[in-house]
């Protein structure tokens, strides 16, 4: 598992062997390839960037080039065990719609995202008065693809509004798991959701 970045390891831990997986925003397919090779999963992916899609397909993965907001609609209801959205929620045009698609397509959804309520982010804004630039969110406000940043508490509110059941949650600060005060102490959050 060490060949996977820590945040993807956290996602991979949620997926049992022989599951079917749809990875939304799967990049070059590193998570899908790891799951296939180590957990015998049946994987599919969707990714916007043509170069990353080509890299994923070259790895033998079933990945289609497409846009989550528009192209998830074609996927049938409850057609995979897990629909994964890792490090992508904040870049979605319509995060709520994508979340609803995830729990429609997957029996469970795994959603992982950077926490904008992390204390360093708060300090940054409080003391510098500037939009935070952190290792997890490295681009400045006018260049970033992250157009819908949220905190862990924001996400919980949205999940409640959408009637999503939170089955599991896990938090990281850097490489370390966090359990207390996650909205303040974690820079990264993972939720397992179902309808």
């Amino acid at each position: 598992m060490n060949d996977l970045p820590v945040r993807l390891q956290q996602v991979a831990r949620q997926i049992p062997e022989h599951s079917s997986v749809l990875d939304v925003g799967c990049s070059d397919g590193r998570l899908l390839a790891w799951l296939r090779d180590n957990k015998n999963t049946d994987g599919r992916g969707i990714e916007l960037d043509a170069g990353r899609v080509a890299a994923a397909v070259t790895r033998g993965l079933s990945v289609v080039q497409g846009d989550a907001t528009r192209d998830l609609a074609a996927f049938p209801d409850q057609s995979v065990d897990f629909a994964v959205l890792s490090e992508t929620l904040q870049a979605m045009e319509a995060p709520a719609k994508v979340l609803q698609d995830l729990v429609r397509i997957g029996r469970r959804a795994v959603v992982a995202f950077p926490n904008f309520g992390y204390w360093r982010v708060r300090m940054n804004l409080l003391f510098k008065g500037r939009m935070p630039v952190t290792p997890r969110l490295p681009t400045s406000w006018h260049e970033t693809e992250n157009i819908h940043l949220c905190t862990i508490d924001d996400f919980r509110v949205l999940a409640a509004e959408l009637d999503l059941r939170i089955e599991r949650e896990a938090y990281l600060a850097g490489e370390n798991p966090i359990s207390a005060w996650p909205n303040l102490m974690a820079d990264h959050a993972l939720f397992v959701l179902s309808k």
Partner: protein
């Protein structure tokens, strides 16, 4: 009009039923193979050719003397590798490179079929290929691979014989011919039929409507390229002259190029075949039996799909590939899809654009490992 040469051929055991309702009496199918069929008979790959292609996918063409038309994809160390695969490519029924077509002798009188040849469809081409494979003792294909009309055949394979294909690779293809596609083909057909030498399709062997066929090829050839590609290759440059001739010679390089494309085409292609094959493409609409819905087409079988389009291809644009992909996704199929970048328009599939070989290679190896 192609000169007579010897092709490797198989006469089918039975008459071929056609979509038009007729039976084609025991047609001959010309084909080439590369590599060796393994003991399990599990490494057969069928390559389907495009409109003006033929079975010489990676072997020297007997008329032009040129290397095969897809040596960038097929060959040792390539995604389709004779060291690993048994590669079959057959001339489509209706063609003119040894398979039964309008230039073949009619069984009744030995004279060319001409317009007596029944109108064929893409599904008929695929049915003929399946019958050829029966004759060769091949039940299941590891893959059906094709670009353009070859991609249409590959998709048709999944619809017609879902249990005989483990994977489908359709490059720069579409699941139907658009109004624009049909329109361009009609221009070509009218050019042929307007040539007095066409004679209602009953021209004698060796003196067909060469001018009409050349014009058809010139018009079609433009649709295979892109504006950016033409500009890069020719711009407004003049052909072997310092100024305009103020006449109607081929002043511009692009004119000279197109004339050459047209004239060299007639040496290797039969005008009536061109009519029949373009007609087959125009009739192609996979969703036709399902009231326009494409997903039910792919409901049966277990084949995996690899769909590739090119950003500068305006003949079969990415939106058509995306429609196929959405149908496959809705049908719950395993599908890989990428739009690759190339300046060369529709013809990109023949030209080794960056990423294509890696994508096809990775896809096929995954299918092979999938057992």
């Amino acid at each position: 009009m192609p000169p007579p040469v010897t092709h490797r051929q198989l006469r089918l055991d039975a008459d071929l039923p056609l979509d038009c309702g007729q039976l084609l009496p025991r047609p001959v199918i010309a084909y080439e193979t590369l590599g060796t069929l393994n003991h399990a008979r599990s490494n057969a790959v069928l390559v389907c050719h495009a409109l003006t292609g033929d079975q010489y996918v990676a072997s020297t063409h007997p008329i032009t003397g040129k290397p095969g038309w897809w040596t960038r994809m097929v060959g040792t160390g390539k995604p389709l590798d004779p060291e690993r695969h048994f590669i079959i490519c057959s001339n489509v029924v209706g063609g003119c490179m040894g398979s039964e077509g309008p230039a073949s002798p009619h069984p009744d009188d030995g004279r060319p079929w001409g317009l007596r040849f029944p109108v064929i469809t893409i599904a008929d081409m695929v049915r003929a290929q399946a019958a050829l494979l029966d004759g060769l003792g091949i039940e299941t294909l590891l893959a059906v691979v094709g670009g353009s009309m070859g991609g249409m055949q590959a998709l048709q394979w999944a619809a017609s014989f879902p249990d005989r294909v483990r994977s489908v690779v359709a490059i720069a293809a579409a699941a139907r011919h658009s109004a624009q596609n049909i329109a361009f083909h009609e221009v070509g057909r009218q050019a042929i039929m307007a040539d007095p030498k066409w004679m209602g399709g009953a021209y004698p062997v060796g003196s067909g409507p060469a001018n009409g066929l050349a014009v058809a090829r010139m018009a079609a050839h433009i649709t295979y390229l892109s504006e950016a590609g033409l500009t890069a290759k020719f711009g407004r440059r003049l052909q072997d002259r310092s100024g305009k001739s103020f006449g109607f010679d081929a002043d511009f390089q692009v004119e000279s190029y197109l004339r050459h494309q047209g004239m060299s085409f007639v040496d290797r292609f039969d005008a009536n075949s061109y009519l029949y094959i373009t007609r087959a493409m125009d009739y192609f609409d996979l969703a036709d039996p399902f009231e326009g819905l494409l997903a039910p087409v792919f409901a049966k079988g277990k084949a995996r799909f690899c769909i590739v389009s090119f950003d500068s291809d305006w003949l079969y644009p990415t939106v058509e590939s995306r429609r196929i992909v959405q149908a496959l996704v809705a049908a719950g199929r395993h599908v890989s899809f990428v739009e690759l970048s190339s300046p060369f328009g529709h013809d990109a599939f023949l030209l080794d654009p960056p990423g294509l070989n890696g994508v096809v290679d990775g896809f096929l190896k995954a299918v092979e490992q999938g057992g």
